[in-house]
Symmetry: C2
């Protein structure tokens, strides 16, 4: 079965469009997807890659572009959502913990729903506990474990792997040595996994 790695960070805005679409598209195409949360901000800071913070026109466009595309995909939004978020590492450490236990995709989708549809930032309450609760887990217990050095190290290891794979942003898809950056390359990446071309 063809497969691809889906690299994302809770904290990336365009990832909303991917997170809400990728499972359906991958299933239709018969592609297995490995969801890999990492700390995109650490990598972008290292690379002096600052797309929005000091660029108000680009930032305003980004929200409008996401809004239009979300509508095309039938996704609800209340934009602009809070950005940038303050607690990117914790949001993604919970994601890694949840992935290991098999509820990481559900947690990620709920986190983005609460962020992009209800306007509450990830990685802090009420979003954090509510997203965990919706996955039928105990928020306090999960958050306490996710804060331990074990999960800080796990996030750092995945960030190292992303760096080694040549990533410079998120969402990114890697398949057979090819890298595809951006939600608008999701279809290209799935085609590559299936057919070896975009």
């Amino acid at each position: 079965m063809p497969q691809l790695d889906f690299w994302y960070a809770i904290g990336s805005t365009y990832a909303y469009l991917t997170i809400m679409r990728i499972n359906d598209l991958a299933e239709q195409g018969g592609v297995r997807v490995r969801w890999r949360p990492f700390d995109v901000r650490a990598i972008m800071t290292e690379q002096n890659n600052i797309p929005f913070r000091d660029k108000p026109l680009k930032a305003a466009y980004m929200w409008r572009d996401i809004e239009r595309r979300a509508e095309k995909y039938g996704l609800r939004t209340r934009l602009p959502a809070p950005y940038p978020i303050d607690n990117l590492p914790l949001a993604n450490q919970v994601a890694i913990l949840a992935m290991r236990e098999g509820w990481g995709i559900h947690y990620t989708m709920e986190t983005y729903r609460i962020w992009f549809q209800d306007g509450l930032p990830p990685g802090e309450d009420p979003n954090l506990s509510e997203a965990i609760f919706r996955c039928d887990r105990d928020p306090m217990a999960v958050i306490e474990r996710a804060r331990t050095p074990e999960y800080a190290a796990a996030l750092a290891a995945e960030t190292d792997a992303a760096r080694a794979a040549g990533l410079f942003g998120a969402p990114t898809f890697t398949v057979d040595g090819e890298l595809f950056w951006g939600d608008d390359r999701l279809e290209d990446a799935l085609n590559w996994a299936r057919f070896g071309h975009v």
Copy 2:
């Protein structure tokens, strides 16, 4: 007839994909396109928007992404093409002159063919004269006129118009107050012109 403005600068890399596709797509969709060359570099410099110069990973990805997409669209490439180009204003002043005389689209397409398929940078010889020659014009006479203050002012005026329209990069499409940035938004922009949604 629905219409959109296609803002580009000879010097933009992703514009290659648009320049070779937009006429066919617009004709299929019944959309009138106004080609508007401007000085994107002036605007991006003002906005501290430097996507590639100090970002080698992003630059390498850009070429690979263009290569894959060009193949999908049946376009030949020899990449990486020379970049950035040294003579962006002259290349685009000739484009404005040629647009006024009705051969600007042909000139732009030939310029990009020579740049992206033969590896010769726009705005200087041999690319510049060859592109003009392929449009059945006298290269020396055209270049002499395009260098005059009249065409420097015309390029500045179009760049002012682009700035006023909120542009921050190229290619960009504007239609009914909506702005779409990037070759990968060409279909969205055409849809907006036709249907009012992406």
